[in-house]
Symmetry: C2
Subunit: 628 residues, 2 copies
């Protein structure tokens, strides 16, 4: 085995972007334009300013249905002395008809009193040009309808047509190539073999690129052979405007991206001081940007957002849309690297007039942190971290009003929260449920600090054997939170199917590989209680410090054989086909801030919780008792 | 001629929406679904909640390049007493490889010291599962990936694939029919005949509908014949899910929409208390919504936004995206009707920490008010108006960050402002120029009230014959604004080509049809000055009170023969091929708030104003003098 050490550079993102883009411009990277019909130009970017060719209206038009007259004929009309218009004094006019040359006003049909014989009486005068849309009322010939670089909106397309501009020169959409590479990656499937990694990065990039206004060509997966990747890159450079190579960019044995780009063109940078995203390659072949994206989805997405998005704005010659930034209060401390600028994904919600900012679990492989992300918190490389409670700037990934209408549920997670969220969506609720898995004590802190509306708790009081009440009394002495009845859940030991190790009770975990829950989780508290009861110390248990955040994660590890046992709820064991040794029924309840207790979102959540649909779903999941 | 009076109802928008949508639901209006590949599902709306079928990773995967080991073999390693790994103690591992059964950790290649002969030394231990992505680290089988009604983002599509979900049931896009009707409307052209109205509403609707997630079929224009429109509607109802009939909806001779819908189905409402938009028809045929949209574009757009947009959200079963609402300060008084809810289009910009809200000129035919609109100010039917300086809520039509980066130029308009805006866009300036035409005195007030950064002025002091300085001294005694050199502009009388009335000087306007500028405009002030000089009273001039807002509007009316003469700048006369009697050269300068004088946006604007590109454009336009 040959081990290579390719040390990457560590340039800052800002500097990399600046120098890379300068290089691209100097190499000749630029857009082309095409002519499209204004009827189909919605969303396209104008190449040049567009001027109206004709006025709109382009003639004096009657603005109402009625009769066209010479205004001065009506000047003496009043209630006391009406004026009679005889045939010849007027001309019938429909909305939109050209104003007859001899007329200069229109009397509305509603103001005509029919006297018969083609005569009409009026009791008020009209001014010149009254009820007439004069030529150019909307657009004047020669006026600039929109400047260069404008993204055409539907109404701008209408304005173009109104101004006689039937076709426009727009920037041609850039074609972006995505080349997935790797020996182990496979096309999407629901049954991958061990060692096969489902290739989904290209799907994520495709959606992002299309949203940015690019056309996308996803090439077939290329194996990790230098000649094969090189050939694919050459083909893509020929056929497209921008080339993105997925994976193979870290400093490892299969890292050909950098070499290939260098052999066909120029590598500007390999390695950027961002986390995640470090091992990106920024290059150029034949004046076209060629970017090597890291294999880990979140790393790649950061590079897509911080570099590729701006590349496309550069192509279009428009400012890069940074996205709106809002101020919020950090709900949980974040630690960050001094070496890198970090992009931390966060969830957001409005509560008590503040925006609550909750960091999502990190890890470059975790696509779910991106699916839940409402915003990005950028932490400069010079900061070691930010404390909870501090004000931060967050760049929005979602529209503000979605974030405004959010029920923040922070605490112990149970799949029933997801089910309630689903039922609410089916009922077309005007808000979304945003749930964070931080454990029962996390609920206590979040509600206390005003950073969540409510949260799930199942906190066992070791002394009384009771759930929740004593904790709430202790942490909310001023009575600012209430507990709403939730459900009973059967907790127990999850073990491999068939229980090969013949585990009968909690005491049997001695000598087994255990997988635990995180500190502050109700299940962890239960574990510690049971261990104390059975006289088991943490060091007696292999894996006591292996912490997972959800019941399904624990179940998954036991099913895979990573661990032999772990505490969890029955429904998770059932889902993974594990055997289950029930130990107790605990109360899983909801801690709710009194301030928000009667708000429409909390009320809707509670209503669904105790409704029929939920009852049916809980029965299906198993292990739940619904309290009356 | 038969004159019909069809009195419309006057139901409120809220009530109309509520009852109409109930009727549609009861009639059976609902969506269909279809199965699509998750690879192509970006932007689609989920029919049902989706659960992961497999874990991701779906096996224990090596997270680094290096060697896989049993962690306990490394426990004693330290700098002082390194541990040597011999062949058999480890297995070579690449990122993504399955962790061998016998191993439970990975040592990074960077931490291996090659001793030769296949032996490596390490100086620190690894913990179990270190550098391993355990099964389910990202997604666990059975976890809900997204609930019903979720709009799939690119990363959600990636999560679906990672979770083994290769296809999803999504809501089928609704197909919306747009039927343009009218005897006078024609397909887009740059040379319409008098009386022909360019049909562009369908283009506006198409763009709006596509943005809302509908497919659109625009039908050929149908003449105003009842049988023809009826046949077109029947066909569209058969082929599509939603039908929009454009024009013919007011209570006039050609109003067949209401009758036709009533004969084929049900008319729920004809006439809504909104302004603009009143004569809309809300109906249903065969369980499908059939909406009669008013002919005036802005009226139609209001109905599109207030009803049709929500109709599509109803179809999808998702909450209607109202759009973000921000608070701002009204820069100009608005008057509103007591009978109707009014939707006033406004421009927005951030200045001095406030959002400045500037109403755009109204008029239902004015598409340009929609092209410039940044937001909508909804004025309840119970309000008569809102005063300048009051705080208002504005619903955003554009992203907030676009509005944040706005240079607000309010005052006397000159086409050179548009040209500067265009040059700035070509230079990729990170801000947009938002210009309002309110006349020179409007600039003084806006800058004084902190509602604009700058504005164009050309205010003639009747006593001194000087421009601008005395006004600025008078209105800014505390020196809070400065004047930046602009350009000289030749002002004069614009007259019909060939000067058929032989106009020689300003005094000759007696007895002519005149078209004036609005009060507060520098050109109006010049007019009043000249009239006083020549002893001409307002009543001596027909059309003195006919006010237009721009030079091109004045020019257009003279070119059309609506008026014989009007004051304006040379470039406008040149554009319309008018004859021009020069009267004076005035100073068109920029009044700038001192507070913003040195800001990057103002500086960029001024730089372009005095640059070479601008000089070239001014020469082309004609009548300008560039001051050094």
């Amino acid at each position: 085995m040959t081990i290579r050490h390719n040390y990457l550079e560590n340039i800052t993102l800002k500097e990399a972007e600046k120098k890379y883009f300068s290089h691209l411009i100097r190499s000749g990277f630029c857009s082309s334009s095409e002519t499209v019909s204004s009827v189909d130009a919605n969303g396209r970017i104008l190449k040049n300013a567009v001027y109206a060719k004709i006025c709109s209206p382009h003639y004096n038009a009657c603005a109402m249905d009625g009769v066209a007259v010479k205004a001065e004929k009506t000047y003496t009309a009043s209630e006391h002395s009406p004026v009679t218009l005889k045939p010849g004094d007027y001309m019938v006019a429909d909305t939109g008809d050209p104003l007859p040359e001899s007329c200069d006003a229109v009397i509305m049909v509603e103001n005509l009193i029919d006297m018969g014989g083609g005569c009409f009486e009026i009791i008020s005068a009209v001014r010149p040009w009254q009820n007439v849309r004069q030529i150019g009322e909307d657009i004047c010939m020669g006026d600039m309808i929109a400047p260069s670089g404008t993204a055409l909106s539907p109404s701008l397309c209408g304005a173009l047509l109104a101004g006689g501009v039937t076709s426009v020169d727009v920037i041609k959409k850039p074609v972006a190539a995505v080349i997935p590479t790797g020996d182990e990656i496979v096309m999407p499937t629901d049954d991958p073999a061990k060692g096969e990694i489902i290739e989904f990065n290209s799907t994520v990039f495709k959606g992002m690129l299309q949203t940015l206004g690019a056309e996308v060509r996803v090439y077939p997966i290329v194996k990790d052979k230098k000649e094969l990747i090189s050939a694919a890159v050459k083909k893509a450079v020929d056929e497209c405007d921008i080339v993105l190579i997925s994976a193979g960019s870290s400093a490892g044995r299969d890292d050909y991206t950098s070499e290939i780009i260098a052999s066909l063109g120029t590598v500007c940078f390999h390695g950027i001081a961002v986390k995640p995203g470090k091992p990106a390659v920024l290059g150029e072949i034949d004046s076209k940007p060629v970017v090597g994206l890291p294999g880990y989805p979140v790393s790649a997405i950061v590079i897509m957002e911080q570099i590729v998005k701006k590349l496309i704005a550069l192509y279009y010659g428009i400012p890069s849309d940074g996205g709106a930034v809002i101020k919020g209060t950090l709900s949980k401390r974040v630690v960050s690297s001094l070496k890198y600028t970090e992009f931390i994904r966060v969830q957001l919600g409005r509560i008590d007039g503040k925006i609550s900012v909750s960091p999502l679990p990190g890890g470059a492989g975790i696509i779910s942190s991106f699916t839940k992300a409402d915003g990005i918190l950028e932490v400069d490389r010079n900061l070691e971290g930010i404390e909870a409670g501090e004000q931060v700037d967050v760049r929005l990934l979602k529209p503000l009003d979605e974030i405004e209408n959010t029920l923040i549920v922070t605490g112990s997670h149970d799949p029933l929260i997801d089910e309630i969220a689903d039922i609410l969506k089916k009922e077309n609720a005007p808000f979304r449920v945003c749930s964070s898995h931080v454990g029962s004590m996390g609920a206590v802190h979040a509600v206390k600090d005003g950073l969540a509306h409510m949260g799930g708790i199942h906190l066992l009081d070791a002394e009384t054997g009771e759930y929740n009440n004593s904790f709430v009394k202790k942490y909310f002495p001023d009575d600012t939170a209430v507990i709403k009845k939730g459900v009973g859940r059967i907790q127990g030991l999850m073990v491999k199917k068939g229980n090969p190790l013949n585990i009968r009770s909690f005491a049997d975990i001695r000598g087994l590989k255990y997988v635990n829950r995180q500190r502050g989780a109700g299940t962890r508290i239960l574990c510690d209680y049971l261990m104390k009861k059975h006289g088991i110390a943490p060091d007696d248990i292999e894996g006591y410090y292996n912490e997972e955040f959800t019941h399904t994660a624990v179940a998954a590890l036991i099913a895979a054989g990573n661990a032999d046992a772990g505490l969890g709820i029955y429904s998770a064991a059932k889902m993974y086909g594990l055997d289950f040794i029930p130990l107790c029924t605990e109360k899983y309840e909801f801690l709710i801030s009194k301030k928000h207790e009667n708000g429409p979102m909390v009320q809707a959540f509670l209503r669904v919780l105790s409704g029929e649909k939920m009852r049916a779903r809980l029965e299906e999941m198993g292990g739940y008792t619904v309290y009356e």
